[in-house]
Symmetry: C2
Subunit: 105 residues, 2 copies
């Protein structure tokens, strides 16, 4: 974008937009589901089940980690990713609040 104007909005709006951004790619939505469903959560397992290269999956994981929706724990040469229930609940609650606020035009 030319120059970001995000400073001009409330931090709540910026944060919620950021959470939404982290959910704005089908691969990341699928990853969140997979981390819940799979017993194993090694990156390799995710790569096997996604139509994306390892580097790309790693990038998506980084984005989810950036906003705190997942956490990674190093386990030898592997990394075990896990959803962050606390942050997830916070996001759910904020989205609920937004959707309850809007929609009575």
């Amino acid at each position: 974008m030319a120059v970001s104007k995000k400073d001009e909005f409330t931090s709540e709006e910026v944060w919620l937009a950021d959470v939404a951004k982290s959910l704005s790619h089908p691969a990341r939505i699928k990853i969140l589901k997979m981390l819940t469903e799979m017993n194993s959560c090694m990156v390799g397992s995710l790569v096997d089940k996604l139509p994306l290269a390892q580097a790309t999956v790693s990038q998506h994981l980084k984005e989810l980690k950036r906003v705190g929706l997942i956490e990674g724990e190093i386990d030898g040469p592997k990394v075990c990713y896990c959803v962050n229930n606390k942050e997830l609940a916070k996001a759910k609650s904020a989205l609920d609040k937004l959707f309850n606020k809007i929609g009575c035009c």
Copy 2:
């Protein structure tokens, strides 16, 4: 992106990601709130209260309209925008479903 891989995901995942994308900018979140709060919903009124140029606001409205979260009704030389409660409810429900599905790692 190089070449989109979105075809490789379910249409539900793609749609939900698309809804999230439409919420992924603070201006669009603010617009949804404003359309709910304001009695008037003319584009000019939105532009007055946003730190963005008219052309930019129009682009954000287009994005919200694209996914169906708002609708615009022509009223003379003006356009009255309005949240689409039906689509909003659908989005809320789908996000609820997602958040209930994930998060028990």
